[in-house]
């Protein structure tokens, strides 16, 4: 703990020389089991820099910043804050040195209110908390922020986008000198993302703040960053100024020789019969409120119907009703004219497949192996059983190897436990399972959330291919660009109802934006 005393706490730091790096990592190594996740990674963060960290899925970006924060202990290597070696044993030490981080996996306490969560991250937490004062203080601070969140709601009830905002607010209130952000904008609207990054950029200009940001969006990198580091399979392949780099060059650095899927063009498909019919559907949320209200959709084969909307407007409940995770209160779902109740048997019969959001939670068994997870839809089908009643592990593994290779799941080990994979690779695995075989009706919710651009292109290509083959696709997404690129028809969902519907070709962007905000 001697190091702690030598390092200087935030606030005590006098005039900082600009030549001195705010943060430096030297030779960081980290191994998870047989997998070398970080291999001798060294980089510097200049004082007041807006530094972007790029890399494909599983390249080690999250692991790198978690090692810096003391969330993981690095096997080897040192971290220097303001040129002094620091022993950061846990995130609390990191906070003391002025480091703050917004994690990709949410670190909110679900049973607590937003207010409690925000107070919790305050340092030091007062021994006795005066809730009224804390609430007033936070409400006042929230006024200065580009967005706001309801303080009295439980964090677990918030939608992904709102959770992300709370995570951001938590850090912004703490005012760290070095802020690390792990894909902070993936659940924000473009306007919110711009105003957030703009606000951070302004703070870096006056050298009050240094930012290290992990992102997949090149637009954000080009607009805001001044320096960039690129990781590929655990190795640092570039670290330096952004000037002189182009998106194409950065993409090449990230992927090496990996091939990027080209988008498939929308083919003309003759009009097919209505496949999915949702009739005045009412679905309740976890807390009993009506999340979906009298919603009706008619979806034909060979078309992609996109549903836009800010998360938390009932999209999640709608998708859960369709994927059999939630029973509707009223209304009917019909597929090819027959009633559908979301059973496994019906899904197989109608060839319905689902790509739900948060796939680790909604579409996988985290403690089972990759091979077992890949076989969840097929393990009892002919070809995957022995003597009709027994599971054929060998057939599962053969199928797993093939799918893992085709969908480039990393690491390619069928026996591996699923919850040891990175977020993007779990997504790929679910994609592999759901799109293998014949699909005639596909429900997708934020299918590209958390994916790097190579994987994103791959998913979009697959969705379009499924449509071109004549499948009906219901695409629920918070990414408007994705919807405009893929959908044939686009709708806006607000407070459980569709408040806008149009052919994508004729859609009016301003109106969509207004409807999303509830006007």
């Amino acid at each position: 703990m001697n190091d702690l005393a030598g390092c200087g706490y935030p606030g005590h730091a006098a005039e900082v020389s600009h030549a001195r790096p705010a943060l430096e990592a030297i030779g960081l190594c980290k191994r998870f089991g047989p997998l070398q996740v970080l291999d001798e990674v060294s980089f510097k963060l200049g004082q007041g820099a807006f530094h972007a960290l790029l890399g494909g899925n599983g390249a080690g970006k999250s692991t790198l910043v978690k090692c810096v924060m003391g969330y993981h202990a690095a096997d080897r290597g040192t971290v220097l804050v303001e040129n002094r070696e620091c022993a950061i044993g846990n995130p609390r030490d990191a906070h003391r040195y002025g480091l703050g981080m917004v994690y990709q996996h949410f670190t909110l306490v679900p049973e607590m209110t937003v207010l409690e969560n925000l107070v919790l991250s305050r340092l030091p937490i007062p021994a006795m908390i005066r809730w009224r004062e804390e609430k007033q203080r936070l409400a006042a601070l929230m006024e200065e922020m580009p967005f706001s969140v309801p303080l009295d709601r439980k964090a677990g009830e918030l939608a992904a986008g709102e959770k992300q905002k709370v995570e951001l607010l938590k850090q912004l209130f703490l005012q760290p000198r070095i802020l690390i952000l792990d894909e902070p904008t993936s659940v924000l609207t473009p306007q919110e993302a711009d105003s957030l990054l703009g606000m951070l950029k302004k703070r870096t200009r006056s050298h009050r703040l240094t930012v290290l940001i992990i992102t997949h969006k090149f637009r954000e990198v080009m607009d805001f960053a001044d320096a960039v580091s690129v990781l590929r399979r655990g190795k640092l392949v570039y670290s330096g100024p952004l000037a002189g780099q182009t998106p194409a060059r950065l993409a090449e650095l990230m992927t090496g020789s990996e091939e990027i899927a080209r988008t498939v063009t929308r083919e003309k498909v003759e009009e097919k019969p209505v496949r999915l019919e949702i009739d005045r559907l009412d679905v309740a949320s976890d807390h009993g409120a009506r999340a979906v209200k009298e919603l009706s959709i008619r979806l034909r084969g060979g078309e992609i119907f996109g549903i836009a909307g800010v998360s938390g407007n009932g999209q999640q409940e709608l998708v859960q009703a369709l994927s059999g995770q939630r029973r509707p209160d009223r209304g009917a779902i019909r597929i090819d004219g027959s009633p559908y109740a979301g059973t496994r048997r019906e899904m197989a019969r109608f060839r319905l497949r689902c790509l739900p959001e948060e796939p680790l939670r909604n579409a996988c068994v985290p403690r089972m192996s990759l091979a077992e997870n890949l076989a969840l839809r097929t393990f009892d089908r002919p070809g995957f059983t022995r003597w009709r009643w027994f599971v054929d592990a060998k057939a599962q593994k053969t199928q797993a190897r093939e799918l893992i290779e085709r969908y480039r799941v990393h690491p390619p080990e069928p026996e591996r436990r699923l919850d040891t994979l990175s977020g993007g690779n779990v997504q790929r695995l679910v994609l592999a399972r759901e799109l293998s075989g014949q699909v005639e009706l596909l429900i997708a919710a934020n299918p590209c959330f958390g994916l790097d651009f190579a994987a994103t292109a791959e998913v979009r290509r697959q969705l379009m291919q499924a449509r071109n083959r004549g499948a009906a696709v219901l695409l629920v997404s918070e990414d408007l660009d994705e919807l405009l690129e893929l959908s044939d028809r686009i709708a806006v969902m607000f407070e459980g109802r569709l408040t806008y519907e149009s052919w994508t070709a004729e859609a009016d962007l301003d109106t969509i934006g207004l409807r999303m905000a509830g006007h």
């Binding site: 981080m101 670190t107 909110l108 679900p110 049973e111 607590m112």
Partner: protein, 308 residues
Amino acid sequence: MNGEALGWWGVPLAILGGAIRAGTPYLFVSLGECLTEKSGRINLGLEGNLVLGAMSAYAVSYLSGSPWLGVLAAGGTGMLLGLLHAWLCSFPKVNDIAVGIALMLFGIGVAFFFGKPYIQPAAPHLPALGFGDWSASAQVRAALEINVLFLIGLGTAPLLGWFLANTRWGLMVRTVGDSRNAAEALGFPVNRVRAAATVAGGFLAGVGGAFLSLYYPGSWNEGLSSGQGLIAVALVVFARWQPMRCLYASLLFGGAGALGPALQSVGITGGYYLFNAAPYVLTLLLMAATCSPERTLSGIPGELSVTK
């Protein structure tokens, strides 16, 4: 006789008195379990704490002559068992439920082993306050004779609720219990917080045991506890992990247990054993009525191994 004069009014009165008398052990164990579960661990061993607490309270009270020293001794042995539970659970891949069952058997075994010499002698009891002394009716006086330990429990419930909601330590306990991920990101020492909560919970359960042997039924023997420690664990679920609701639930269960004797006192003897099963039937009915497959169990700490 005055008691006869009360007639049917004697039934609710006897149930009230019984609720307080029989509810006190439930109250202490459920508060202890509530605190432990809030930190993300289930301690099924509290039945062991209860029995060992009853034995040590009785022994110390007999040997020292002071029932309050006995209460402290009961709390102390409860803390030791809690510490053992916390220590075993701090190792990776140890299941807290299995450890709890082992410790329940261990605690009961230890209590029987050391308790043999104390079955016969009479130890000084805990004092009770006569809230019914104004009444001429013996029944009223019996029902309103309230033990000091119950009053302490009555104060502990809101205090625990306040502690969990308004203090730094309380927030730490809830954070650790709800999301290990969040706790680690905040740098909270997860295992130490859980250990502290388990030890404190063990203390409360031990005190509950002291009530059994030093007040009601008020003696030490091997059949003293009839599974109150286990029912109290279910009671925490029913109380949705809120200390104040633990209080109400304990009274409800205590009252249900007093139903049989109360009815007997007014001459209804048929179905005596059926009425004695009331707490268990009540447990099942309440669980069935309050559970829903559609909605999540609100209030459940996310780190409990039953939810993962």
